[in-house]
Symmetry: C2
Subunit: 335 residues, 2 copies
């Protein structure tokens, strides 16, 4: 589908639909739940979680997410594997099940683009990237759709991951510089927009030292998604206007873990809805605390279903075994 529509057009569509969804978001009508799931340390540190949201009277959307940070190095798999399903609230029918590994990377980029669009300084941007894994690709791509990105300056704890970022971003025609750990201060100080998207260990943050930053730096903090996992220096957060994607989840597992509740700003949908009011913050320090919001996944699967139907992509699969006699489970049998 992305090949058919085109990478840029697909991302633009996702950003546009997410913007519209946020502008119109009504928490009474769209009931997103904090994700919940199983966290474990054997065989390796990881989790399997569910992220449900319901549009009242229409659909329930549930993304199932696995996060296994050793996947890339040990199994040549993305750390995040995900699948989204949609359920009809009139009947209980499974409406669709859709890959969400790529979609999660895309929608996380789109959410950062929306925050960046409102809160980051305008004009040509140097984008700092800390953590050069899968999310880095879609962060930079999405940002490039809302700001003229001239340059990327990037770091990864693993040299070999940093080494391939330029190739993975080649489709964007942006200068990509990767720097060593000792140059993290320069990376941060030269950035107009900074994206942190690491797999830093629980309790091992922040991923860069507090220091000199531009007065108008905007940060998209993408990596924190686990109790105890944070990426941003607390002092810097406390000097910033902090926008959680969803307040309660960010307090549980985002950068907001480090903040007093009264220092936490409005949620992303409010900032996007009241963009004109919040654009004045482009001249000051701002942080988008992105833990991943289930409504973003709803937007993503709806986009896929829309274009899938339009383009004749996707497959009809008979998964449910629906007995022709609703009162007789065995009526599924032919004899």
């Amino acid at each position: 589908m992305i090949e058919h529509i085109g990478r840029d057009a697909f991302m633009d569509d996702l950003i546009g639909r997410m913007r519209t969804t946020m502008v119109n978001h009504d928490p009474e009508l769209v009931v997103a739940r904090n994700r919940d799931g199983y966290h474990y340390t054997k065989p390796d540190l990881g989790l399997v979680e569910w992220m449900p949201t319901m549009e009242v009277g229409r659909n329930v959307v549930v993304k199932m997410v696995g996060y296994h940070p050793t996947n890339p190095t040990q199994r040549n798999l993305p750390s995040v594997l995900a699948t989204t399903s949609m359920w009809d609230t009139s009947t209980g029918h499974l409406v669709a099940i859709c890959e969400a590994t790529v979609l999660t990377a895309l929608r996380t980029g789109a959410a950062s683009a929306l925050a960046t669009e409102v809160l980051a300084p305008t004009g040509p941007a140097t984008v700092g990237v800390i953590g050069c894994g899968a999310q880095a690709v879609t962060q930079v791509h999405a940002l490039s759709r809302v700001r003229p990105v001239e340059r990327v300056i990037a770091h990864d704890a693993e040299d070999e991951v940093a080494a391939t970022l330029a190739r993975r971003l080649a489709f964007l025609d942006i200068e990509v510089e990767t720097v060593a750990h000792r140059d993290l201060g320069r990376l941060v100080s030269e950035s107009n927009v900074l994206c942190t998207c690491t797999s830093v260990d629980i309790g091992a943050g922040p991923v860069f030292p507090d220091g000199v930053v531009r007065d108008d730096l905007h940060i998209n903090a993408v990596g924190a998604d686990f109790p105890g996992k944070t990426e941003i220096p607390r002092d810097l957060l406390e000097r910033s206007f902090v926008v959680p994607d969803t307040r309660s989840q960010c307090i549980a597992e985002g950068e907001c873990q480090q903040l007093e509740p009264d220092h936490i700003g409005p949620e992303l949908y409010e900032v996007v809805r009241d963009a004109e009011e919040h654009q004045r913050r482009r001249s000051s320090l701002t942080v988008f605390d992105s833990t991943g919001w289930s409504v973003e996944d709803q937007v993503a699967i709806e986009l896929v279903l829309h274009h899938g139907e339009r383009l004749g992509l996707g497959t009809d699969i008979e998964i449910e075994g629906v007995p022709p006699d609703p009162y007789d489970p065995y009526s599924v049998l032919s004899s």
Copy 2:
């Protein structure tokens, strides 16, 4: 699969595997969660819920369940539609997704059979059935695998549903009598084993009046699965030894809603594990409070996967979009 293996053999296998699973159940190693989900009243009363369980170090199993009591009369669909999926805790991969509408009816029957096997009087049985929908078929079938069922005496609030029960149970060669509401007292008093599996409205229970019952009556209370929904008269519960399938969930939405905590007996797995100790209760009043336990769904999907592989049934479906380069979501694209 059921056609291939045979209805009785399939049910016997399910009962046997569930018995083994319960005998060996270790709550430290199998972490079942109470179900959670969305309850709503528009467009009709219903819910979409998730029922997760994790076998530590192996799999997470999540059944998604829709319960829409108006489905049979308004849409010719079962009130329960369900799908079970399995997730690998090493990688996060979706291992399998499996229909669970028929499976839910079967595993609910199998759980009642296990309770009945330990707690009900031995010898030829008259089975009372209140609520003649889909669950009634698999309740009677499952009970017939652990007791010689001579006769079914049944009632449904809808005459037309009761009218077809004999046809739906014809494969069992059991005498089926259906009775009117005024004969509920006789239905209950003549039963050795009673199954309640109604869609009674919230707050509208019990579904039969307290009255004369056999001293050794065993009840499988299957219908309560929603806060406020109960089927059994409170006095009768208070005179009985009550076995929840899972204590906390039964307190939230089962018959145990009506009981003081200290009146609630051991969980089903303990009764099955310590069957010899509990068989002495065959001469007294016993109630199995069946709200549905996610471990039962794990047993069911594992049975299906086992036989599916053995028999070459099932379909390989590519649902996940796994990028060949784990650090580049766009490596799924061919150009």
